[in-house]
C-alpha cells in the first residue's frame, strides 16, 4: 500500500559503527564525492589539465542529460492476495453522511481506490449512489486535507498529542468538565466506545449535531416511509427525492412504486408537492404548489381537518384555487386510504410533523406505508437543545475539555450560539479535522481525520442492517477515526480502529468466518430489530420559527452538502440540478420577489436579521414562493483548501437556532455590487425565446412529455410530436443487424435529475475540472449532462429533466466532418473518439446537434496536486489539451466485459453484464444500457415501447441513445393549472 508521509520516518539503518558513532573518518569518507571508484587528482593544476578537465566535464555534463529522472519504485515485498496487476479489486464498505449509511463498493487498482459504486446488497444503496458518494473518493486525495497533527497552532505529531493526553487525563477526574460533540451516531462500535467513555467519565456529556439532518421527534424515532406502497404522496416542504435523504432508498422505492410505467398496464402514482423552494421532488411532482414555509403548517392543518371530516365537501368550497387544490388532494388521499402518505420535510417544525402523523393515522397509512423505527442514535432530546446547552456551558466556563468529532461546528453551528467564540473559552479543545478548517484553527489540538476509505468503522442502515467500513488504503496522512480518538482520550492507549470494530463485531457475528463474510458481503445479516413506537412523540415544545418580512430557507447544497465538500472539485463543478449553478451558492428568489427587490441575476443583496448579516448574489429561480429566499448552506468557508476558496457566501452566519430550518423577519437590501455566477445552462425553456412580435410560439420537442391519460389514449404521442420528410442518408447505411449493438434507453419518467450519473461519469472517465471562470465561458467537460427545462406559466412552472450523454448516432454528423478521421464508428455501433488522432478542429462539436462533445480548451491538469492524480482510472486516458472528447458508453467497461466473456468461451455478453458508470449510479434506474440485437435485453424491450423516441431523430442521426417520454399523472379535478391561478394555502 502506498503511504504518503511528510518526511521519511521509521527505523534508521546504519552502515557501520563509524556511522553510528559519527566518527570523523566516516564523515570524511562520506564527504568524498567518489569514495572508492576514483583516484583523486593530486597533480598540480596546469593549463593543459584544466582544459582536459573542462572538456571531460562538458562531455559528462552532456551525458547526464540522457539520464531519466530518478523515480522510486516500491515493489510489493509480499504479493497481495488475489491481486493481478492492472486488474481492479473491489472492497465492500460503507459511508455515512448526515447520519445515514449507504453501503458501497470501492474499486481499487494496486491499492488505490478510484471509483465508488453502490453495494447492491445494501438496503440503503441497492446498487445506486448519490453524487456525494461518487465524489467522496476525490476527497480522499484532496491535497487540502489535514496533513499532520497540530497542537497549539503549530505542527506536531502523534507523540506530542500522546504526551498531552497523558497530562490531560490526570485532570479530567469524573469528566465534569468534559464534553464530546459528534455527528449523529450510526456506528455500533463507536457507540460502544462512547459508552465506555461515559462510563469512565460519568459526569461527561455527549452531544450529537448535524447541521442538515435533524429529527422532529422528541424521542429516538425515525419515520420510515415505504414510497413503493403509496399511490398518492403529498410532500409538504419535503425533498425526499433530493437532499432530505442522503441515501437513495426513497428514490428507488418511489420510482419502483409508480414511475416505471409499463405499456400493457399503465399505472402511475401521484405526487403532490407543496413547497417554498423548487426541489427535485417538486420537479417530479404531478402537481406542485409553491407556498411559503410558514404557511405549510396551516395547509397541513386544513388538510388534516379535510381528511378527518367524513364529509369532504364541507372543506375547500371557497373560490380560490388553493382551496380547490386542498379539497382535491384530500379527496385523492381519502380515496387511497392505506396506500397514500403525507410527508413533511426536516425544515418544518415538530408541530407540522405531528399533524402529518395525524393525517397519516386518519388515513390508515401508519402501518402499511409509514412505520416508525428506532434510529441508531440514542439521542433523546432535540439536538439543538443539547447543542445550546453545550454552548452555554462553554460560555460559562463549565467546559474544560471538548472533544469534537463532528464536522466543523465552529462553521456550521447556529450563529446565535457563537460557537467559534465559545471554543476559545474552552481550555482543551481536541478536534478531529478533515482539513485545516475554522474549527481546527480555534482548537488546541487538531488531529487529522481518517477518510472512510482509509480506516475501519461500521454503520447501521435505516433498517438495522449493519455494514463494516472496510479500508482500501493506508491512511494517507496518518488520520484517526472518531472512535480511535475518543478511545484514546478516554484512556485506551493504542487501540486501533481495526481492533475497535473487530472486537465489537466478532462476538456479534459469531466467529472469524462470519466476520470474513460480513466484510465480503458488505452487510451483516440478519439486521438488528429496529421496530419503534407506533405512537411517536413529536417535539412540539420548540416554538415555530418567527414569521414576517422575508423568509429565508436553509437547504443543503447539492455540491457541498453542509460545507464538507467545499474542497471537492467534482462536486463543485457539478451544477445544481435545479439552478444549474456551479462553484457558488446564491440567494434564490422568485421572479416576483426579484421585481420587488429590484434585483437581477448576480446582484449582491444583504440579508440581515437581529444584527446578523450576510451578503450574497441573487439568482432568480422560477417557481419559488414569493418573499422567500432559499439559500444552500455550506459555502463561504474562510479556512479552506485551494478548490473551495472564495466559493459562495456563508448562510450559517444568519442561521440561528430559532431559524434553523427556515425563518421570517429577515430584511433584505441591495448593495449595488454584482457578483458573477457561472451556470452550465442559461436557457430554461424549450419554448423559443420571443424575440420579435411576428414570431410564432414554438415548443421544441426535445424532452417530450404527456399525461398518463394521453398515453392511454395514444401510446405513440411522443413520436407523433414530430413530422418530417422521409430520411435518406447521403453515404448509405451500415448494416447494424449483426453482432452486439450497444444502445441506451433513458426513462424520463423515472429520472429525478439527481446528478449522480454526472459525478459517476466524472469519476469513471477522468473528466477534467475546469473551474468557475471556464464554466462561465462555457467550457465545462461533462460527458453526460442534466438538461432541465421549465414548462408552463412562469410563476407556476413544471420542470422536466433529461440526462444527455452522447447519442452514439448511427449516422453521426460529427464523423463526416472530422478531417483526420479521429472520430469513427465501431462495428458495434459506438461513435469512437481517437484522442491521439484528434487535431482539435472542433468541427465535430459544431456539427453535433446535441452538443455533447467536449473540447480541452486548455490543459485542465496543469495545477493538479500529485496526490490527486491517484484518483484517476487507469483504464481511461487522461486527455491532453487540444483534443475533443465525449461519452464513450464507458467503452473500457465493454471491452473488459468482452474479455471476461471470451475467457469463459462466450461470444455474447449477458444482459446487464456491462453497465456504464451513469447507469450503475442511477438511483432511479432510469438509464438502461445493453445490446439491442439481444431482443431479450432490457434495453431492447424499452426500445419497442411506444413511448420510445429519438431526440432530434428528424435530422436522420439515428441516435442509439433514446428516451422514453415523460408522463405525469395529474388529478383530473385540478387541471389545467394556469398562470392566473395562485396557490396559497
Amino acid at each position: 500500500m502506498i503511504q504518503i508521509t511528510k518526511k521519511l520516518t521509521g527505523k534508521k539503518y546504519w552502515r557501520s559503527l563509524d556511522q553510528y558513532y559519527q566518527t570523523t573518518e566516516f564523515q570524511d569518507w562520506l564527504n568524498k564525492e567518489f569514495p572508492t571508484q576514483a583516484q583523486e587528482m593530486i597533480d598540480e593544476p596546469s593549463r593543459r589539465n584544466v582544459l582536459k578537465l573542462m572538456a571531460a566535464s562538458f562531455a559528462l555534463g552532456g551525458l547526464t542529460a540522457c539520464r531519466r529522472p530518478v523515480e522510486h519504485i516500491l515493489p510489493y515485498s509480499r504479493g497481495v492476495e488475489n491481486l493481478i496487476h492492472g486488474k481492479p479489486l473491489f472492497y465492500n464498505t460503507v459511508m455515512s453522511l448526515g447520519g445515514s449509511a449507504t453501503g458501497l463498493t470501492a474499486r481499487t487498482y494496486e491499492g488505490r481506490p478510484t471509483k465508488i459504486e453502490g453495494n447492491p446488497d445494501h438496503p440503503a444503496s441497492l446498487g445506486a449512489t448519490r453524487g456525494y458518494h461518487q465524489a467522496s473518493v476525490l476527497s480522499l486525495y484532496d491535497p487540502g486535507r489535514m496533513p499532520n497533527v497540530r497542537g497549539d497552532g503549530k505542527d506536531s505529531d502523534w507523540n506530542g498529542f500522546t504526551s498531552y493526553v497523558q497530562t490531560l487525563s490526570g485532570s479530567l477526574g469524573n469528566g465534569a468538565g468534559l464534553r464530546f460533540l459528534s455527528e449523529p451516531m450510526n456506528s455500533p462500535s463507536f457507540t460502544a466506545v462512547k459508552k465506555h467513555a461515559l462510563t469512565r467519565f460519568p459526569a461527561a456529556k455527549w452531544v450529537e449535531y448535524s447541521p442538515i439532518h435533524t429529527t422532529a421527534t422528541a424521542q429516538p424515532v425515525a419515520p420510515r416511509i415505504a414510497f413503493d406502497k403509496a399511490a398518492v404522496v403529498v410532500a409538504l416542504d419535503s425533498d425526499f427525492l433530493g437532499l432530505d435523504d442522503t441515501t437513495v432508498v426513497a428514490v428507488k422505492e418511489f420510482v419502483r412504486g409508480g414511475r416505471k410505467v409499463t405499456d400493457e398496464n399503465p399505472l402511475m402514482n401521484r405526487l403532490y408537492a407543496v413547497e417554498p423552494q423548487f426541489s427535485v421532488t417538486g420537479a417530479a411532482a404531478d402537481h406542485r404548489f409553491r407556498m411559503k414555509s410558514s404557511e405549510i403548517a396551516g395547509f397541513a392543518g386544513a388538510l388534516l381537518s379535510a381528511v378527518q371530516s367524513q364529509e369532504l365537501k364541507v372543506v375547500g368550497q371557497g373560490n380560490s384555487s388553493a382551496d380547490k387544490a386542498l379539497s382535491a388532494i384530500a379527496k385523492d388521499l381519502a380515496a387511497n386510504r392505506g396506500k397514500s402518505v403525507v410527508v413533511a420535510g426536516p425544515r418544518q417544525s415538530g408541530a407540522v410533523h405531528q399533524i402529518v402523523h395525524q393525517i397519516n393515522q386518519a388515513l390508515g397509512n401508519v402501518g402499511p406505508v409509514v412505520t416508525y423505527l428506532k434510529p441508531a442514535s440514542d439521542q433523546t432530546r432535540p439536538q439543538l437543545d443539547a447543542l445550546k446547552e453545550l454552548a452555554g456551558e462553554m460560555a460559562n466556563g463549565q467546559v474544560n475539555t471538548l472533544v469534537i468529532t463532528a464536522w466543523n461546528p465552529a462553521f456550521n453551528a447556529p450563529a446565535d450560539l457563537e460557537f467559534e467564540a465559545n471554543l476559545k473559552k474552552v481550555a482543551n479543545v481536541i478536534y478531529l479535522a478533515q482539513d485545516l478548517d475554522e474549527t481546527a484553527m480555534a482548537s488546541k489540538w487538531a488531529i487529522p481525520a481518517a477518510h472512510y476509505l482509509e480506516s475501519w468503522g461500521d454503520a447501521v442502515a435505516f433498517d438495522g442492517t449493519a455494514s463494516i467500513q472496510q479500508p482500501t488504503i493506508q491512511p494517507l496522512h496518518g488520520g484517526k477515526t472518531a472512535a480511535e480518538l475518543v478511545a484514546f482520550v478516554s484512556g485506551y492507549k493504542d487501540l486501533k480502529a481495526y481492533d475497535i470494530v473487530r472486537n465489537h463485531w466478532l462476538p456479534v457475528v459469531g466467529g472469524e468466518k462470519a466476520w470474513k463474510k460480513a466484510l465480503h458481503d458488505g452487510v451483516i445479516r440478519p439486521a438488528a430489530a429496529v421496530a419503534g413506537s407506533a405512537a411517536p412523540v413529536f417535539d412540539t415544545a420548540t416554538p415555530a420559527p418567527p414569521t414576517g418580512g422575508y423568509e429565508v430557507i436553509f437547504v443543503p447544497s447539492w455540491s457541498v452538502f453542509d460545507g464538507r465538500f467545499v474542497n471537492n472539485a467534482w462536486l463543485q463543478e457539478t451544477p445544481d440540478p435545479m439552478t444549474k449553478l456551479t462553484w457558488d451558492n446564491a440567494a434564490l428568489v422568485s421572479q416576483a420577489t426579484a421585481r420587488k427587490l429590484a434585483v437581477a441575476m448576480g446582484d449582491v443583496i444583504a440579508i440581515e436579521r437581529n444584527g446578523r448579516k450576510v451578503e450574497g448574489a441573487v439568482m432568480i429561480q422560477p417557481g419559488l414562493a414569493d418573499d422567500t429566499i432559499v439559500i444552500p448552506v455550506g459555502y463561504g468557508r474562510t479556512k479552506v483548501g485551494q478548490v473551495g476558496e472564495g466559493a459562495g457566501f456563508n448562510a450559517y452566519k444568519i442561521r440561528t437556532s430559532d431559524t434553523f430550518g427556515y425563518g421570517g423577519g429577515f430584511n433584505v437590501s441591495k448593495t449595488g455590487r454584482v457578483y458573477p455566477l457561472a451556470r452550465t445552462q442559461e436557457f430554461e425553456y424549450q419554448e423559443e425565446p420571443k424575440l420579435v412580435g411576428f414570431q410564432e410560439d414554438v415548443v421544441r420537442p426535445i424532452v417530450r412529455e404527456g399525461t398518463i391519460e394521453e398515453f392511454k389514449k395514444n401510446p405513440h404521442f411522443a413520436t407523433e410530436m414530430v413530422e418530417h420528410p422521409p430520411l435518406k442518408s447521403l453515404y448509405g447505411d451500415y448494416d447494424y443487424s449483426k453482432g452486439q449493438q450497444w444502445a441506451m434507453a433513458i426513462d424520463l419518467n423515472a429520472c429525478v435529475g439527481c446528478n449522480a450519473c454526472m459525478v459517476a461519469c466524472v469519476a469513471e472517465n477522468n473528466i477534467g475540472v475546469v473551474g468557475k471562470e471556464q464554466v462561465a465561458r462555457g467550457r465545462e467537460m461533462h460527458w453526460i449532462r442534466m438538461d432541465r427545462y421549465y414548462t408552463g406559466p412562469v410563476d407556476e412552472p413544471q420542470v422536466v429533466t433529461a440526462p444527455i450523454p452522447c447519442m452514439q448516432c448511427e449516422t453521426a454528423p460529427c464523423e463526416n466532418v472530422c478531417p483526420v478521421a479521429a472520430t469513427v464508428h465501431s462495428p458495434e455501433g459506438l461513435n469512437d473518439m481517437v484522442y491521439n488522432r484528434c487535431v482539435g478542429t472542433r468541427y465535430c462539436s459544431n456539427n453535433c446537434p446535441y452538443k455533447v462533445r467536449r473540447f480541452n480548451f486548455l490543459n485542465w491538469h496543469i495545477n493538479e496536486a500529485e496526490v490527486t492524480k491517484m484518483v484517476y482510472n487507469p483504464e481511461v486516458t487522461v486527455r491532453m489539451r487540444g483534443v475533443m472528447e465525449k461519452c464513450t458508453y464507458c467503452v473500457q467497461r465493454i471491452q473488459n466485459a468482452k474479455i471476461d466473456a471470451k475467457v469463459e468461451g462466450r461470444r455474447w455478453l449477458k444482459d446487464g453484464e456491462v453497465t456504464p458508470a451513469c447507469a450503475q449510479a442511477c438511483p432511479s434506474d432510469a438509464i438502461v444500457f445493453g445490446n439491442v440485437n439481444d431482443l431479450e435485453s432490457r434495453v431492447a424491450k424499452m426500445k419497442v415501447s411506444p413511448r420510445n423516441y429519438g431526440m432530434l431523430a428528424e435530422l436522420n442521426t439515428k441516435p442509439r441513445t433514446t428516451y422514453l417520454a415523460k408522463l405525469r399523472n395529474p388529478n383530473p379535478e385540478l387541471q389545467p393549472v394556469t398562470a392566473a391561478e395562485e396557490h396559497h394555502g
Partner: protein, 487 residues
C-alpha cells in the same frame, strides 16, 4: 461585364492620363522601387516599423496560443468556431479580387485591369497568407494538423484524411488557389522583373536577373509568355469560383441551421468578390496617392471597381433576403428561429452592422458623383470590409450560439488574444505589402504599355475613323508586343 469598361463603343476611355511616353511610365513605376535618387523615403521605414511591430505581435499571439491552448481565445461550447474561422473566411474572401481581376477580367478583355492587376494579385497572395494562419492555428494541436490533413502516406497508422470532410476539401481548394495565384502573379511579373534587372546594378541586378528567368523580350518569349498567361488565366478562373464555394461547404454540408443551406456557394463567391474589390479600392486609393500614380490608376479604374462592388453588394443583399424567405418558407422551425435570432437575438447588433455596411452602403454607388469621389469610395470601401467581416461572424457565431437544444445555448465574447491576433494579421498583410511596393513593380508596366499602344493607336485613329473604335478592343494586348527591355 464588358459594359463596365465601355458604355459607348464610340467613346474610348482614357485609361492612362496625361499621355506619358512609354519611358515615363517605366520610370514612374520603377522609381517607386528604386527610390527617388536611389533613396528610400523615410516614410516607408516608419510604416514598416509600425506594421512590422504589429506582425511581431501576431507571432507573439500565435506563440502564446500554441503554448497555452485554444482557451486563450473566447471560443467555447457551443461556439466552437468564432473569430478564427471568421478571419479565415474574411481573408480568403479578400483574396478573391486579385485573381478575379487578373484572370476573369483578362479573359473578358477588360483592359482597364492592367493598371491594378499586379497590385490586386499581390493583395490576393498576402490575404491568402493571412488566411492560411487560421486553419492551422485554430486547431487544438497545430503541430499535428500541419500535416495530418494532407494526404501523406504514413507508416505508423496507415490512415488517410477523411475525404468526406469539407475541411479536407478546403485544404485542397485553398492550397491549389494559393499555388495557382502565386504562379500567375509570378509569370505576370517576369517581363517587369527583367525591366528592373536592366535598370538595377550590383546585387539587386543579380537577384532581379535570377528572378526574371533570362527574359530578353524576344518575340518568342512574348509568345510563350502570352500563352502561359492565358493558360494560367484559364486555370485560375474556375478556382476563383471554386475556392470560396468549397469554403462555403464547411458550413453548407453541416446539419447546423443557418449553415445548412444550398445558397452558400454563389452567395459566398459574390461576397468574396465584393470584399476583395473593397479591399483593392481601400489600398489603391492610398497607394495612388502615396506614390503619385494617379495618371496610371485613374478615376475610371476606381469607378469600374465601384460598379462591381455595387453589383456584388446587391447580390449579397439578395442572398440575405433569400435566406430569410427560405427559412420562413421551409417550415423548419430550427431554421426559422436561427434567422429570427440573427436579426433580433443577442447578435442583432452584428447582424444590423452587416446589413448596413453590405446592403445599404453600396447602393450609394448608383450615383456617379459618389462613385467617382475618391474620399467617399475610400470610406465606403472600409465600411464594406467591416460589413463583410461581420457577415462571416454572423454566419458562424450567431448560428452556433443557439442551435437545437436550448440547454446548450451560449454566447461568444472575444478575448484580448482574439483581438490582437486579428490585428496582427493586418500587420502581416501590410508588412508584406510594404515589401511588395518596395521591391517589386506594383503596376504591370509591360501590360500598361501594351494597353497604351492601343490607346495611342486609337487616339490617332479616332479623329479620322471613329467607327473603328470597337475594333481595337478585339485585339489582344498580347499580340502587340511593344517593349520588354528597359528604356
Amino acid at each position: 461585364m464588358a459594359d463596365l469598361a465601355i458604355k459607348d463603343p464610340h467613346v474610348t476611355p482614357v485609361l492612362v492620363e496625361g499621355n506619358p511616353s512609354l519611358h515615363e511610365v517605366t520610370n514612374d513605376v520603377a522609381q517607386i522601387v528604386e527610390g527617388i535618387n536611389r533613396n528610400v523615403p523615410v516614410q516607408w521605414y516608419i510604416a514598416l516599423a509600425i506594421t512590422g511591430s504589429i506582425t511581431l505581435l501576431l507571432f507573439a499571439m500565435l506563440g502564446y496560443l500554441v503554448a497555452t491552448g485554444i482557451g486563450v481565445w473566447g471560443n467555447n461550447q457551443p461556439v466552437g468556431w468564432a473569430w478564427d474561422i471568421t478571419n479565415f473566411v474574411f481573408w480568403i474572401g479578400i483574396g478573391h479580387a486579385g485573381t478575379l481581376i487578373s484572370a476573369i477580367l483578362f479573359l473578358f478583355r477588360q483592359k482597364w485591369r492592367t493598371s491594378i492587376n499586379r497590385f490586386a494579385e499581390a493583395m490576393t497572395l498576402f490575404a491568402v497568407a493571412c488566411a492560411l494562419i487560421y486553419p492551422l492555428f485554430h486547431t487544438g494541436r497545430p503541430w499535428r494538423a500541419a500535416y495530418w490533413l494532407l494526404p501523406l502516406p504514413n507508416t505508423h497508422l496507415w490512415v488517410w484524411p477523411n475525404f468526406r470532410s469539407p475541411l479536407v476539401w478546403d485544404v485542397f481548394a485553398v492550397s491549389t488557389y494559393a499555388t495557382v495565384s502565386a504562379l500567375f502573379w509570378y509569370v505576370g511579373l517576369v517581363p517587369d522583373l527583367a525591366t528592373m534587372r536592366d535598370r538595377a546594378t550590383g546585387l539587386a541586378q543579380k537577384i532581379y536577373g535570377a528572378l526574371s528567368l533570362g527574359w530578353r523580350g524576344s518575340a518568342r518569349h512574348w509568345r510563350n509568355y502570352e500563352m502561359a498567361y492565358l493558360i494560367l488565366a484559364g486555370l485560375s478562373t474556375p478556382l476563383v469560383l471554386s475556392v470560396h464555394s468549397v469554403v462555403s461547404f464547411d458550413f453548407a454540408t453541416s446539419v447546423l441551421p443557418g449553415w445548412h443551406t444550398t445558397i452558400f456557394p454563389p452567395y459566398f463567391v459574390a461576397g468574396a468578390i465584393f470584399s476583395g474589390f473593397a479591399m483593392v479600392v481601400t489600398l489603391m486609393v492610398i497607394a495612388r496617392w502615396a506614390f503619385q500614380i494617379e495618371h496610371l490608376v485613374t478615376i475610371k479604374h476606381l469607378e469600374n471597381m465601384n460598379k462591381i462592388m455595387l453589383a456584388t453588394g446587391t447580390i449579397v443583399g439578395y442572398a440575405y433576403a433569400t435566406e430569410f424567405f427560405i427559412a420562413w418558407y421551409s417550415g423548419n422551425p430550427y431554421e426559422r428561429f436561427v434567422f429570427i435570432n440573427r436579426a433580433f437575438g443577442p447578435y442583432a447588433w452584428a447582424y444590423w452592422t452587416m446589413i448596413s455596411c453590405n446592403v445599404i452602403s453600396p447602393q450609394f454607388f448608383w450615383f456617379k458623383k459618389l462613385r467617382t469621389s475618391v474620399a467617399f469610395m475610400f470610406v465606403l470601401s472600409i465600411f464594406v470590409n467591416i460589413g463583410m467581416w461581420f457577415e462571416r461572424f454572423v454566419i458562424i457565431a450567431s448560428s452556433l450560439h443557439r442551435d437545437f437544444l436550448p440547454s446548450s445555448w451560449g454566447y461568444f465574447v472575444p478575448t484580448w488574444v482574439d483581438i490582437l491576433t486579428f490585428l496582427g494579421t493586418f500587420g502581416l498583410f501590410l508588412t508584406l505589402f510594404l515589401f511588395f511596393v518596395r521591391f517589386l513593380p506594383m503596376i504591370a508596366v509591360s501590360e500598361v504599355k501594351g494597353m497604351m499602344a492601343h490607346q495611342q493607336m486609337h487616339h490617332d485613329a479616332h479623329g479620322h475613323a471613329a467607327k473603328d473604335g470597337a475594333k481595337t478592343h478585339d485585339a489582344s494586348p498580347g499580340l502587340t508586343p511593344v517593349t520588354g527591355g528597359g528604356h
